[in-house]
Each structure stands twice: as C-alpha cells, then as structure tokens.
C-alpha cells in the first residue's frame, strides 16, 4: 500500500452532466493489500456513479465488517457511509431505506459477512426486494482473521493454508434468483469493462440488485489450488452476453445488429439492451438461469455477466404503500394527530 494519496488531478479532467470530475467520486486512500481485488471494485463503483452523473451526497454507502466492508471509506467521500456490525448491513440498510426512499443505497459486503454470519439477513433482504445495490466482494476466504475458508469456497479449493475445503459452497446468485431478486449478476474484479455497466444497471434497477464479484485475495487465496485466484477465474470465466445501458433521454442504438437483441425498460425509463448469441441463455427466465449456473458449475466454469433480469416486481416501499415523501422529511404537522384526536380516543376508553 502507499501512504499518501495524490491530490493532483488533470486540470482538464472530463466532467459529467453535473459538472463533476471523477475525483468528486473518489474516497480516502485504501488500506487494503496492494493488488487486492476489492480496490478494483471500488474503482468500478466510482466509475459507475460518475458515468451515471449521480449526486454523490444522494448515495448512502452501507457495509458490515471485514476487508470488503472497509472499502466504502475508499470511494465516494461526499456520501455518508455506515460501517455497521458483522453480517448486519442488510437490516441497517433496510431501516435507512425505509427512512429515506430518495437516496441510492450501495451496500458492500464480503463472502463471510453475507454467506455466513449475515446469511439470514441477506435472504430476508432479498425476499423483501429492498431497492438497493448489494455488492459482494467474494474472495472465498476470511482475510482479517488470516485465511480461514469462507462459505463460498468451492469444494476442493484450498487457500494458502493448503487444506482443501470439504463443504458445499453457497452460491449467492442462485439464492438471490430463487428468492425473487429481479437483478442478479456475477462478475470478476479484474474485468472492469463488464463490472461498470453491471453496477450502473443495478443502480437503475428498482428493487434488490445483487452483484457477486469474485475478487481474489492476494494475500491468502491467490495460490494455484484456489478457485478464487486471479489465474483460475481468468481461465474459467464465461460470460452470458454483453449489454448496454441506455438512459431514458438517449436514443437506442443497436451496436451489433447481427446478434439477438432484447430491450428491457427499467423503472425510470432507462433501457437495457441485451446482446447475446442465438442459442445463449435467456436471462429473463429464472429456471433456465438456475440450470445454466448448475451446468457451468459442473463444467468448472464461472458464469459471469447479467444472470437474471426481471423488472416486473414491487420494491419494499411499493409493497408497504409508503408515501412518496421520504419519512425522514415528515414533520409534526404530518405525524402528530393532536390533542382533539387524543381526547376522542380517551372518550372511547371510558
């Protein structure tokens, strides 16, 4: 790691629609190990928010505990962040979202934070379809406690400790698809071209969006026997297809007319144009996605890209019929029924 973060930026750095440069979306200097996959993901988040021209202060960064959960300090320093307790980011984010529905919630978690201690909260978060982006920085290993297997480690994979994991791994994407999440993706920290559009799509999706990002741990789990190493993932990665995210105001341009294109409109009018081969996966059908994931597993492949998209679902606020004004903006006039109503109640209790 380096000890000082340069503040020098090119005076003519490009600006987005809000007039912000990418620097406006950066955070503090990372204290993670040099080469950590997590830092690449942080940069992809910065790129995605910059490219979408989001107001940084209208984003809330949420995390639990672990290496991954430290990263919100390293991006979006003009956003409020909440580094909560281990495995409990989902509930804190749920409450935060209930309190203010107008912010964009980006939750960052790890495989330990999500697939072990936080599994209960994760599953219930998905089934409530909370409007948020949930990024798992998945390295299959506990870094801060120095190299224990996590619940996403594949059977037979071993970390630097050299003892193969013998337990079945959790597949967070399969779980999220089964529990009704309308936006599920898997990516690789080393593939920014794929990851940045996935994050943008996830932010635009109304409802729960999961991106499980394989993010190698250079210190404890980047050895040849690990299925979460840079080398292994690069060699075994398969993509479901590519897609473009087209904001509402822009015209749709088909890049590769020879491929089958499908255009799916998101909640706010943004369109996702899918480009895929004729015999490739239909990501709108969750049964076929689940079998494709199983098949890839049999073939020792890591299926990446947008795995499932279903825009036809209600987020938690829709289900609860919450008012349009964020709850944290309601005042006494909105909230307190007053003394007359109370006296009427008293009368009914006599």
């Amino acid at each position: 790691m380096s000890y000082l973060k340069s503040t020098f930026r090119h005076p003519e750095s490009p600006k987005n629609d809000l007039g912000y440069t990418q620097a406006n979306y950066e955070g503090a200097l990372s204290t993670l190990c040099a080469g950590c996959g997590h830092d690449s993901i942080s940069n992809s988040i910065i790129n995605a928010c910059y490219e979408l021209s989001l107001e940084p202060h209208k984003i809330a960064k949420m995390s639990g505990i672990g290496c991954s959960s430290k990263t919100p300090a390293y991006f979006l320093s003009n956003s409020h962040g909440f580094n909560s307790v281990h495995g409990r980011m989902p509930s804190v984010t749920t409450g935060a979202n209930m309190g203010n529905r107008d912010l964009t919630y980006i939750g960052v978690s790890g495989d330990g934070d999500t697939a072990s201690i936080g599994m209960g909260q994760f599953m219930h978060l998905v089934r409530r379809n909370l409007n948020m982006v949930y990024i798992v920085m998945n390295n299959g290993v506990y870094g801060l406690t120095k190299g224990q297997d996590s619940a996403t480690a594949d059977v037979g994979s071993s970390s630097k400790k050299g003892v193969p994991n013998m337990y079945e791994p959790m597949d967070l994407c399969e779980l999220a698809i089964s529990l009704g999440s309308g936006y599920v993706a898997r990516s690789f920290s080393g593939d920014k071209d794929q990851l940045v559009p996935l994050i943008k799509g996830a932010i635009k999706h109304n409802g729960f969006a999961l991106i499980d990002v394989v993010s190698p741990c250079v210190t404890f789990n980047n050895n040849p026997q690990s299925t979460k190493s840079y080398e292994w993932v690069r060699d075994h990665k398969e993509a479901t297809g590519t897609f473009d995210l087209v904001p509402e105001e822009q015209e749709i341009t088909v890049q590769n007319p020879d491929q089958i294109n499908e255009s799916i409109t998101l909640h706010d009018g943004t369109k996702i144009n899918l480009h895929r081969q004729p015999d490739s996966l239909d990501i709108t059908c969750r049964e076929s996605v689940l079998s494709a994931l199983e098949e890839a597993k049999q073939n020792k492949q890591v299926l990446t890209g947008l795995l499932h998209l279903n825009t036809d679902s209600n987020s938690t606020h829709d289900i609860l019929n919450t008012c349009d004004t964020p709850l944290n903006r309601l005042t006494e006039e909105d909230l307190c029924p007053g003394s007359d109503a109370l006296e009427a109640l008293n009368q009914s209790l006599r």
Binding site: H57, F82, M98, H317, C323, N328, L335, P337
Partner: protein, 624 residues
Amino acid sequence: MPTVNHPRIEAVNDFVIRFANVNGTGSASANNMFSKAVFRMGVPVSPKNIFPSNIQGLPTWFEVRVTEKGYLGSRGDVDFVVAINGQTLKQDYETLMPGGYFLYDSTKALPRDFKRDDIFEIGIPLTQMCIDNYTNPRQRQLFKNIIYVGALAYLFNMEFEVLTGMVKDQFAKKEKLIAPNIGALELGYNYAKEHFTEVCGLRVERRDNVGDSIMIDGNSATGLGAVYGGATFAGWYPITPSTSVVEAFEKYANKFRKDEQGKNKFAILQAEDELSAMGMAIGGNWNGARSFTATSGPGLSLMSEFLGLAYFAEIPIVLIDVQRSGPSTGMPTRTQQSDVISAAYASHGDTKQVLLIPCDPAECFEMTSAAFDVADRLQTPVIVLSDLDLGMNDHVSRPLKWDDDRKYDRGKVLTAEDLDNMQERWGRYKDVDGDGIGYRTYPGTHPTKGSYFTRGSSHDDYAAYTEDSSVYEANMERLVKKWETAKDVAPRPQIKYRDKDSKVAAIFFGTSAQASYEALDGLQEEGTKINTCRIKSFPFHPDIGKFIEEHDTIFVIEQNRDAQMRTLLINEFNTGTEKLRSILNIDGMPIRARRIKRKIERMLAGENVSPFTTVNSSAQEVEA
C-alpha cells in the same frame, strides 16, 4: 347448601374475584366485560390476565380487583372464585380465602374430596343451561361465560343496565348478537336470583371514584405514544409480551397517518429476528426518521450487539422492552422486572443505556413519546422499560394528554445552511458545547459538506478511524460527559416524604409502585411512616443518591431474584450495601400489596426473613 363454619367475607367495592378458565374459550372478553362494568359504575378496578404460553386448552386465570380506594396494584388473596376449569378446580378451591365464595358449574357435582366448610359454594348448572338454551356448540361455549357474568351481576347487586349497555357497545357493528348476549346475561341473573338470594356478602355500588380516567393497557398506550412522538418506522419481531406494542402502533398509524392519496406516512416491517429489528431501527434513525422496535428479554439479549453500536456510533434509538419472566425462555407469559441490569449495561465493552421506566399507561404514552426526544437529544439508545403486567393488562389510568404547542426536539442536527455558515471545521463527534454531544448530519444534506463515516470502530472527532490511545480515551470520556448530561434530560424520580424525620424509606419503580404505595399506606395507618422514591429513569438523578443518604433503612422493592435495581443503585452511587434491603417477588404474578406490607412489618420487627414475598429458595416460607 351445606353449613359453613366461618363468617362470610363482606365488603362493598373492595374485593378480589378470580376467574379460572380454559384458554381459548372466549372467557377473556366476558371477564373484561365484568371488569369494565365495575369501572362504568364509577368504581376503580384492576384486572390481571394470568395466561399460559399456549393458544388453546391450558388453564388461564383472570383476576379482578374491585378497589374503591383506587389501589390498582395486586392485593393478594382471593375472595370470590369463578371456577370454570376442571383442570384447576381443586387448586382454585384450595386457594380461596376462608369466608369466600366458590362459583362452579354444578352440571356435575363437586368431587367428594371438596370438603371445605369455611367457604360458600355457589353451584350454577352452566353447561346444562347452555345445552337447554343453545344448539350451536360454539354458542354453548361462549354463552357459558356470559351466563356467569349475569349471575355475578345479581350476586354483587350490580346495575344490570350497565352490563346490557356494554353488550350494545361491544356489538354495535354486529347487532344480531346483542339480543342473545343480553338473553344469556338474564339467564344467569335470574338463576342466581332464584337460588342464591342473600348468599353473597360482596357488593358493587355506584360511586364517582374514577373521574375522567380511562381503561387501557400499557402496550396500546405505548404504541399510541410512538404515533404521537413522531415515529415513522418500526422494525420488529413478534415476542410476547411486546407484540401488541407494534400492533397498537400499526392500528393507530392506520387511523391517523394516511396522506391524501391514501398512502402511509409510516412503515412497519416484521423482521426475521430481533437482531434485524434493531438494525432496522438503527438505519432509520441514522437517516433521521424516528424509528423504534419493541421486544422482551430474549430479544433484548439478541439486540445487545447493536445497542453497543448505537451507543458508540451515537445513533438515537427507541427500544420498548416489555419485560417478562426470565432467564432464557423463562415464563413467557408471566411478568417480572428482571431486565434492569441487562438493559442498563446492554452490550459488550463499557456501555450505559438510558432507561425510562413507566408505571402506568399514561406514563407509557408520555415516556414513549418523550423517548424519541430524549434519544434525538442525547444521540443514544433509550430503552422504555415496561413489563407484562403493565403492557398486557387493562389499567385504570389518567387520560392521555397532548400539548398541541409541543415541538419535537430533534437534537443537534445540521442543515445545509448551517454547514455553509460554519466557520470552523465540522467534526461529527466534536464536543463544541461542552455537554458531550456533537452535531450530526442526515445523509443527503449537502453536496460537498457534512458527509461522514458512521462506524462502531474507534473514531476521532471527525469520525475517522483511529487506534490512537489518547484519542480513544478522550472519546470514551466524552461519552461519560454525555451520560452526565442525560441526568438532566431524563425524567426525575418521584420522591414523597411521609415524614421528613423518618429514617425508613422505600425505593421502587415501574409496576412495583402501585402495590408498594398501598402497602406503605397500610403501614402508615398503623403508625409507620415510610418515605418513598419512585425511580423513573436511568442514569440516576443525584436526588436519588441524596435520598439514600438521608435514610438508614431503605426497602428496595422489585420483581426479580437478584435485586437488580438495588445492585444498580449500589454500583452507581457506590454506597448503600448495608442499608438497602430487598423485598423481592419472582413468582411471575404482579407483586402483591399485602405481602409487601407483611414483609416490611417483619423486617422492621427485626426478624431474619428472606427477601422474597413468594416461596423462598428453601421453600420454607410460603405466604398466600
């Protein structure tokens, strides 16, 4: 009727009647009808539902104290039993006071071993009357309850029209049911009139002793307090006896909190567990939406980690803890005050949590609505410590009041304008006012100013991570300063001197108060004047320390085994080990006035007695 060799108990508006029923037979609404009828005759009444952790089939009791003087705590002893439950018939028979009355279903004769000659048996063939008058099995079950209420109306010489009025109110929306219910009341009334004239020495006579009081359970008042206090979000997990807090919040929010489009100006989520419920409440408050959760002992344990986060990261939280008997699952439907220490010091590391302790429904309402202000002001968790007795039983209470000029105190929150006008560098945890409380910002306030990172790890004034020992220490000491500030923010104790010179005093809190006041009134009539201090909050106000200093013998009356409030007092004031003497109740029933009085009498007489008002550990001392 057999000869009774004992004078009958005679009383007007001062007796205890106990209904013994089977859970799930609709008895609760009939028993409530009786209790409310007494209230409507202007006589204070105190109903206690003693129920099992079960949906259908197990024994349940409903005890109603008719109390002209307005003593609303539990008195102890039973003067009249309505014994409808075969499973507990013997027990109900045995525990009745000599001279008392035993109303039973005489469709079947009492077993031969029921041979008390000191009580009055009132046999009414309830089952047979139902078989004769109703064909539908459910009706036969439900009307059995109404028939005995009708009989009681005759036996206690109650105003029959009060009962028929209640039936009309209750079934205003189901008019068809009014006539058959009144019919059942009449059946019972007439049977008693025919067979038991001049048998019962207990009377309910009209008085004007309830004033403008209302009857409400603590949990309803708490849920309503959350609506009035501006709560917009509740994350919760069902657990007896706190469930009805959130149900009440939902009911009143649905009534009062719809916008023009019919959308909700509130949100409620049933969480997957108590950890999540507390996490949700933390998230909502972090965003500036008043949020709360409600739980009981086991949930409090699960929430402990999060309470530490909220304490250290300084996030306001309102937690309603409706205590029940512990430890572990304990007796889930029985009352206790046994979360005092685990609430006061909830979570690992050095933590202290603000407690507000209501003793009646009006205080449940007031303290819950105030809790949101206190939490916002202090930026810390506030636990409203109620209990099952208070939460789930109807209580006669002062009416609920609200001052329309009252504004919510949202504490120290900076707006975008404040941030723009600020000269010096803002630090989230910087103690600029000297009260230990920093200024916070809600997410989304300002494009470039006021963002910070909330964390449960050690942080400096600017919310940045630090492992610098001196910075950590300074932060922990600032939290102590905030704790001192809390002493002025939380409600003060209620101290009453019966005799300024008396060296004997009593300290109690929550639902131990009513029975304690009654016991001490009784002692005062006999010439023993005992000063009182009712604790309403933690941290303890210095007045409590002064009160301890002023007295030589102080009875600390509470409903747990380990004298938790006494321990807390000794720990916080570093004094009192000799003079603070415990009076404890742990049988899961509300603490009884008569037992407190007897215990104090014996202790003051110098007897070496166990602190328990119930069976002590060696089972040597059993009092009724």
